[in-house]
Point group: C2
Chain length 116, copies 2
DNA sequence: CAAATATTTCAAGAGATATTGAAATGAGAA
DNA sequence: TTCTCATTTCAATATCTCTTGAAATATTTG
C-alpha cells in the first residue's frame, strides 16, 4: 500500500495511541509498566522486573520488547544488566490523547482527575 | 483457582484496566470510541458508527461487542436501530487509574494535562 | 582464558482475536 | 402479512500474540 489517498486509514496519532494502548493491555506488561513509573527515571533492571512480575526472564524480555516497540520505555546498559526506564514524554502524549478525546464530549469526565 | 492467597494474581483494578486498555487498543475500536465520546450521552447508531469507521456492519458489531464487554459503552434500542453511548464513569475510572499510576513516579507528567 | 551472570533471541506450539459472508432476528412500513 | 431495514449471530479462516525452553550473546569475575 504505497499511496492510500482514497482510503480512510486512521491518522498517525490514532495509530500510535492504539499501539501504546495495546502495549499496556496485558497484565504482565501493565504490572511492569507500573513498577517502572514508580521507580522513576532511574528505572529498574530486567531481573528486578521479572521478579516483580513473577515471570521467566525470557517471557519478560518479550514483554519488554513490546513496551519498547511502543516507545513507552527505554533501555540502557549498565554492566551486565539492562536498565529499563519509562519514557515520560510518551506517557504524557498518550494521556493527553485520551484526555482530549474524552473532554471533547464530556469535560466533566476529566475535571478533578489530576490530583498529583 | 478457588483461593489464590499464595499466587501473585494482579488485583482487580489492574485486571479491569488491562481489559479496558485492550478494548481501546484497536484502530477501529478507538475510532468508534472517539466518535462516541464526541457524540456525548446521546450516542450514535451502529450504522452511523460503521460508516464513520468504514467497516462492515458485522465487523463493527463484533468490535462493539468488545467495547461493551469492557464496560466502556452501553446500548439501547431505538426502533430498529441500536444506539451506543459511552460509559463516562468507566472512562473516568480508566483515566484515573492511568493518571494515578503515572503520578506516583512523576507528578510532572500529569501536570497541565487537563485543559478542558 | 574459563566460569558465572544477566539478558536476549529463536523456534514451536497453543491460544486468542480479527475478518468475512451468509443466515437469523426483530423492528417498522406497505 | 409480506417486505425492507438495521443489526447481530454464526462458522470458517486467517492472523496475531503468548508462553516455553533451549541456545546465543555480552559482560564481569576468578
Amino acid at each position: 500500500m504505497i499511496a492510500d489517498a482514497l482510503s480512510t486509514a486512521p491518522d498517525a496519532p490514532t495509530r500510535q495511541a492504539s499501539v501504546r494502548l495495546g502495549a499496556l493491555a496485558h497484565e504482565t506488561r501493565l504490572t511492569v509498566f507500573r513498577a517502572l513509573m514508580r521507580a522513576g527515571p532511574e528505572g529498574l533492571a530486567a531481573g528486578a522486573l521479572a521478579e516483580a512480575a513473577q515471570v521467566s526472564a525470557s517471557n519478560l524480555s518479550s514483554h519488554l520488547g513490546v513496551l519498547l516497540g511502543a516507545g513507552l520505555v527505554s533501555v540502557r546498559r549498565d554492566g551486565r544488566q539492562r536498565i529499563y526506564a519509562p519514557d515520560f514524554e510518551a506517557v504524557r502524549e498518550l494521556l493527553g490523547f485520551l484526555v482530549n478525546e474524552c473532554c471533547q464530549g464530556a469535560p466533566e469526565v476529566c475535571g478533578g482527575l489530576v490530583k498529583c
